[in-house]
């Protein structure tokens, strides 16, 4: 079995909901309450040493409950391992603690998840839109945002 997932289950037995290693990717679905602790543990534990936060994204599973999912991809430079951490959030409460204190490089990834999906990162220093313009309303990558619904800044509507 996977060293990473075993260690994670060993240290946070109550928070890890499920794990799998489909397609060769170690994945753990965890609860959001102690997410910062879990991520800091993954970064600092001498057997794991996940010092790179490669990616953070949101996924919208419209129709499922809980609807949103925040996915972290981590990489360990020394151990040359990857892990994926997922957290599910409810539609009416898409709030999760920010991981900026653990890896400063994850700052803009969180801003993008806010911009595209509307996931709020509690404690983020600057949670503003990053890809879209400020006047844009809504969160475009949500499944219920129609693809061609335009909000033109200038020019005709269509």
């Amino acid at each position: 079995m996977s060293v990473v997932l075993d260690r994670l289950r060993e240290m946070f037995p109550a928070d890890v909901v499920s794990t799998h290693s489909d397609f060769g990717d170690d994945t753990a679905l965890v609860r959001r309450e102690r997410i910062v602790e879990i991520l800091a543990f993954l970064r600092d534990d001498p057997e794991l040493l996940f010092d790179f936060a490669m990616d953070l994204t949101g996924v919208d599973y419209l129709g499922e409950e809980p609807r949103f999912e925040v996915v972290y991809h981590l990489y360990s430079l020394e151990k040359k391992r990857r892990v994926r951490i997922k957290v599910r959030l409810h539609e009416d409460d898409p709030v999760i603690d920010t991981a900026v204190t653990v890896w400063p490089g994850i700052n803009w990834f969180e801003r993008e998840a806010w911009d595209m999906y509307g996931i709020v990162f509690r404690g983020h220093p600057n949670l503003k839109r990053i890809l879209m313009y400020e006047a844009f309303e809504g969160h475009p990558l949500r499944k219920d945002y129609p693809k061609a619904k335009r909000q033109p800044t200038i020019g005709p509507e269509e």
Partner: protein
């Protein structure tokens, strides 16, 4: 091939000698402002490069200030965040000015039909020449510059004079 010019009441069949001289000077010394946003920008660089050499046509001096340019070459996708910037740049250019819309994204939005892409720059500024392609060959850019030169040479009305299209 001269075009009937209807402006200022002067309905001449051909341009006067002085106007021809001015047109000759203008067309062989176009100063492009390359508003290159995306992939088409790389082909613009290729057009100015040594294989395709746009300087043979006089349009070598690229000016990065709209105040000093006369052709606005919009190369690449313009989205709603960038569109006000484009309009402002266009407004800052001095008359007479021409606009070349290069590539499918600038002409009609390309294959991006979504919440963020402006479906063609002619929604916000008048365009004289459209170059289709994704991205067009640098030869397409040369073709467009030659078209602009023909427009200048014959005194044909610019797109700005029929803008906005009713």
């Amino acid at each position: 091939m001269a075009v009937k010019r209807v402006k200022d009441g002067a309905s001449g069949y051909a341009l006067t000698t002085l106007e021809s001289l001015v047109a000759w000077g203008r067309k062989y010394s176009l100063y492009p402002f390359t508003f290159a946003t995306a992939c088409c920008g790389i082909e613009v660089m290729g057009a100015f490069g040594t294989h395709y050499d746009l300087s043979r046509f006089g349009a070598e001096v690229v000016r990065f200030s709209p105040r000093q340019a006369d052709v606005l070459l919009v190369a690449g996708t313009v989205n709603y965040k960038m569109a006000p910037v484009l309009k402002r740049i266009y407004d800052q250019m001095l008359e007479p000015k021409w606009v070349i819309s290069m590539g499918a994204c600038a002409c009609t939005g390309g294959f991006y039909n979504n919440y963020t892409v402006l479906q063609g720059i002619d929604k916000v500024i008048p365009v004289d020449v459209y170059i289709p392609g994704c991205p067009p060959n640098p030869e397409g850019i040369i073709d467009a510059v030659v078209w602009i030169q023909k427009i200048i040479e014959t005194g044909a009305p610019r797109a700005a004079e029929r803008w906005p299209i009713k």
